[in-house]
Structure formats: structure tokens, C-alpha cells
Symmetry: C2
Subunit: 336 residues, 2 copies
DNA sequence: TTGAAAGCGCTAACAC
DNA sequence: GTGTTAGCGCTTTCAA
């Protein structure tokens, strides 16, 4: 079908190896030879056949980013960064949707794709530390997010305890006294995602306020619908909250919706804060106070660490913590 | 590195071809042989090396979905469907981000990836009909969206004229008399995206209302920021609009934001409608009236047509029109 | 600085 | 129903 190295070699009157060297720049090639080869390449419109290259090299140049849902803007924004970073390093990034399901995450962990990708970036939500520890696959792996900690793989995540502590302290500083948490994971034995609740709790304790389980609303998932439902529940309490920290911006937006429908004023009656800083929160009514993790850095680091592993880096696994900052908007009182 | 066909063949005491046949099921294999081979595969944990297979077959099993932005929920939702559909047909879908840029779209059209993908689904926004007609690459191509029409490729898109006509007629039926359009493409020579304005215009004419260019606000892109800016501009007019149809939900949400900041009541003072039906609009305050295209069908059809082409379908290119429906929500007066 | 040639793992044409 | 083998396009070792 296409033009191959051989065609170029014939056209330029050189050997296959020489053309290969011109293309890859591994070994020095004489200037006049290089020019002849380059001309042949341009004239014939040669592009390397990647399947052949991969077969020979034992690598595909593909890496996967496995996230729970593409339709969560946080992950879409992250993927956006990661795709660019990967391209810059000569890799193609492909997306896997785990739908937050255990079996999907396990299948990926165990290297279902081992012959198609060179490495995997995974944001686990349904599996826990033990599943990751029990993994047998050899494929390089980088973890992102707050799902799993303390495993022998590179891990990129902000300090989630500090993040939710910061957000909660902000609500405390506003003078709020009944601060709820929306979007707790179901209380099972997984380690997953309890860090944000820990930060919330720590901030309350620090302020001398009680940690009241009735104000902690669990949700099945972390979407808008879940946030709305949980908020509706909180509003039925005898003493409803005067502030809410949501697990993420999406649940916070669901909460805003429930509050609007109930005719509760935000921030006057209830202040709301989320975590993630998705663009949607800069345009919601009211705009959403949130914790903004450095997504650029998370995406960059995840891809860089993975590529380094693929290319032989053997340093011990590291846990990197990109920074975050509090962004105050209308939902917690800022008018601008 | 991994286990190869040869290993299995040795273990099971058969030839390479037989193992290949067990794996692929092309030729019948004796029952006892099949079992021995299958056992060897299970024991050794064999998975085919895709690079080798692709090299041999001349296909990679990869298709690309090229969209202007991953962070636009409409495309994220579409990609979600397409990924699943592709997986069901034995293909892996990878995402290309064109950022709505001309050069990116042209590069893809001309087959930059020709050796890595078997086909391309493209949502063009920056290029026009002529660029598509002038394309030289051989790679199967399916177009989606309202960017380019009347080209000799399969094309999946809703009837955009009818869609915006329907939305506009809805605003007319509400009794609105100064209906603006937010998110017109810049007035250049491209065919791109003028269909939605045509539908808007047709509905006005049908209602005996003037098409007033001052009420048509162009935007550079189609994001929330663009919608907000355009709406702010419309509010400065001597006679501001009492309704707005936005190019898409994202610009509509930007418009909602501008209205909220200006203290204009929606829908009382200004009714707002968008197109796309992204989840965000079901949770905005107020919730957003919109045109809901059948995204499932768009994603499914695009992938199916492409795969059919890749596998040799030679029927003449077809233009398929999935359905859409009007979804009335608070921003145009529905209270539920 | 350049060339010859082996071989990555697989599929498919051909032979039995 | 099963086996043998050529060769997809490339990288890389060895030799010149």
C-alpha cells in the first residue's frame, strides 16, 4: 500500500539501514547522502509504518489514561493536558473509561491491554490498596487521584486532607457553624476517598466544632445527580446545615441545584464549596467556591513519570503532590 | 518478553497455523486439538501481539475521533458513546484534539496518522467544504456535525436548520418579539455553522418578524466565555432582546451567567435556549431549555459507518440525520 | 560512513 | 484438518 523504507532506499540509491538512520538520527550520516535520502522521502511522501516499528522495538508508543468518566469535566480537562504532554514526548495517549467499575479497573490493572499499550495511568475509584498490591502485570503503572495510597507505584495526587481542610476552614472563617459534607463514599472497608472527609473533620475539630455524622451525606457516585439528592436530604434535617463542602465540584453543582429548587439562598442561608475547579463552576449561578488543584501539573507529571518508567527509569516509586489553592467565589460570599 | 504463538505451538505440539486458527477461528480445527491449544494458551497466559498482527494484516484496529475540544461536554458525551461502540466492533478509539484549528484539521485530513489509524471520524469546524474536497489521503473518513456539507464522504448530523428553527419557533410561541442569536460564527467565506442561523432566520420570517442583524452576536469560539461576552454586548443595545437562542448549550450557559450578573431575570425578562442537551444544562440555575440531538445514535452511526468503510463497504457515501427533540426547561418558562 | 542480513510475531497462501 | 513457509516494514548487529 504505502511507501516503505525500501522504496526510499531504492530511489536514493542507498541501503535500508542508511534511510533508517536518516529517519531516526541514531547514527551520523554523510551530508550529501542525507540530502538525497531526504529528497526521496519528500518526493514519495514517506511516513514510517508504526506497526512494523513497534513490532521491532517491542513497544507501541501508546499509553492509556484510565479514568472513571470522560464526562466529568475534571477528567476531561486532565485528559486534555495529558494528551498534549504525551504527544510532546512522542507517545499517543488513548483513553479508557472504567465507569468507576471494579471489574474494569481490575482488568486494566492485570494488563488486559498489555500488547497494545506501553504503560497505564490509572485513577482508581472502585478498587482499593489490596487489589493494587496484588497486581501481577508488569506494565509500567502510574496512579493518580485520591483513590489509593501507599502502594509501590508512582502516584500523583494533591494533599487531599489538606485540600478539604482548607476548604472547610474557609467556611468556618465565614462564621458558619453547621457545616455539612456532601458526597461521602459509602462506608465500606475500602480506603478510597476518605481523605477528604478526614480533612473536613480535622478542620472542624481544630475550630472546636463537633463532627456530626448526620451532616455527612453519603452518595453512590460523585455526579451532579448524587449531589442534588444528598443536598435534598440534608435540607430535611431538623437543623439543616448553613454551609456545605462537597466531595467535588460536580456534587457541589448538584447541591446548588437542590438549594435553588428549595428556594434556599446561597450564600446567605447556605454557603457552598467544592473541589476540582472545573470551568462549569466559574459560570454557575452562583459561581462556585472551590479548591483548584494544579491540573496542568498533575497531567504533566503523570505522563512524564510513566514515560520515564517505560524508558527504563528504575528509581524507587515516588509520591508527588502538586499544589492546590482556594478559589473564593459567590457561593461562599464573594460578590465579584 | 511475552508469550508468543510459537510458545503455544510447542507446548501444545501443533503448528503455528493451528494455534492461529484456534485464536482467530478462521479455519475449522479438530476438537481435541483445539482443547490442547486452548489449555496451553490459558496456562501460559498468551495474548496476541497486536503490532505483529497489524503489520501482517495491514490494519491497526485503531480509529480516531477528532473533535475541537474534549472539554466541551457535548463532545465528551459523544466520545463516551463512540468508545463503547468501537470496542464492541473490535476497534480501539483514540481521541484527537484539533482545538478547532485549521492546521490541525488539515493535517488530520491529509492523513498525518495514516499508519497508526485505520480510519477517521472528524468534526470539522475551522475548515470548509473546499478543503475537504481537496483532500488526497485515502484513509476512510466519516464527518460529523454541522461544519461541512455536500462532500463525498459519509456524514452524520442532525438537521441543523430544522433544529434551530424549532428552538426559535418555541421562543416565538412564548410571545417573545426580540429574539437574539448568540454565537454566530465570524462572517467569512466558510460554509461552517451558518445553518443554525438559517433556521433561526426562517422561524422569524415564518412568524412575520424581522431578521435584525443587530440581534445576531458573533463569537470567536463557542465556549461559555464567548456566550457571556456576547450576551453582555446584547444587553447594551437600546432595545435589548427578550429572548436568546444560543449556538450551543455552552454559549447559552455563558449567556445565563451574563444575565445573572446584570440582574436580568430568566425567563421573565429574557428567555434562553441552547442546542446540545449537555448534562450541565439540566443543573444550571435556571435549568436550560435546549434541543437534544440523539447523541447515542450519532456516535453509533459514525463508528459503524467508518468500520464498514474500513472493512470494504463500497456503497456511495450517505448523509444520515439522527433525530432531535425540544426539551423545555426553566430558562424558557417551564417551572418543573 | 555505509551495507547486508537476521528476525520481531503474526497471517495466509499453498501443500499435504 | 493440519503443517510449512514467505513476508509484512522496520531496527540493529556485525562487517566492511
Amino acid at each position: 500500500m504505502g511507501v516503505s523504507l525500501k522504496d526510499i532506499a531504492e530511489r536514493a540509491g542507498v541501503s535500508l539501514a542508511t534511510v533508517s538512520n536518516v529517519v531516526n538520527g541514531y547514527r551520523p550520516v554523510g551530508e550529501s547522502t542525507r540530502q538525497r535520502v531526504q529528497q526521496a522521502i519528500d518526493e514519495l511522501g514517506y511516513t514510517p509504518n508504526l506497526s512494523a516499528r513497534h513490532l521491532r522495538r517491542g513497544r507501541t508508543g501508546l499509553i492509556a489514561l484510565a479514568i472513571p468518566e470522560l464526562t466529568n469535566p475534571y477528567f476531561a480537562e486532565l485528559a486534555d493536558v495529558a494528551i498534549r504532554e504525551a504527544a510532546g514526548l512522542g507517545y499517543t495517549l488513548l483513553m479508557e473509561n472504567t465507569a468507576g467499575e471494579r471489574t474494569e479497573e481490575l482488568t486494566l490493572l492485570d494488563g488486559a491491554q498489555r500488547h497494545i499499550i506501553d504503560g497505564l495511568i490509572l485513577s482508581p475509584v472502585a478498587i482499593g490498596r489490596n487489589e493494587v498490591l496484588g497486581r501481577r502485570a508488569q506494565l509500567p503503572l502510574v496512579l493518580i487521584g485520591e483513590g489509593v495510597y501507599d502502594v509501590p507505584y508512582d502516584h500523583i495526587a494533591i494533599d487531599n486532607v489538606a485540600a478539604s481542610r482548607t476548604a472547610t476552614a474557609h467556611l468556618v472563617a465565614l462564621g458558619r457553624r453547621r457545616i455539612a459534607f456532601v458526597g461521602a463514599p459509602p462506608w465500606d472497608d475500602r480506603q478510597s476517598a476518605h481523605l477528604r472527609i478526614r480533612g473536613y473533620r480535622e478542620a472542624l475539630v481544630e475550630a472546636g466544632m463537633p463532627f456530626d455524622l448526620r451532616l455527612v451525606a453519603p452518595t453512590a457516585q460523585f455526579g451532579r445527580t448524587d449531589g442534588e439528592r444528598a443536598m435534598r436530604h440534608l435540607l430535611t434535617l431538623d437543623e439543616p446545615p448553613d454551609a456545605v463542602l462537597a466531595y467535588n465540584d460536580l456534587t457541589a453543582i448538584g447541591a446548588l441545584r437542590a438549594l435553588a429548587r428549595a428556594g434556599v439562598r446561597v450564600p446567605d442561608d447556605v454557603a457552598v464549596a467544592g473541589i476540582d475547579d472545573i470551568e462549569e463552576g466559574r459560570f454557575s449561578n452562583p459561581t462556585l467556591t472551590t479548591i483548584a488543584p494544579d491540573k496542568r501539573e498533575i497531567g504533566r507529571l503523570a505522563v512524564r513519570r510513566l514515560v520515564a518508567r517505560i524508558e527504563g527509569d528504575a528509581r524507587p516509586p515516588a509520591h508527588e503532590q502538586p499544589t492546590f489553592r482556594l478559589v473564593e467565589r459567590e457561593s461562599s460570599g464573594s460578590t465579584r
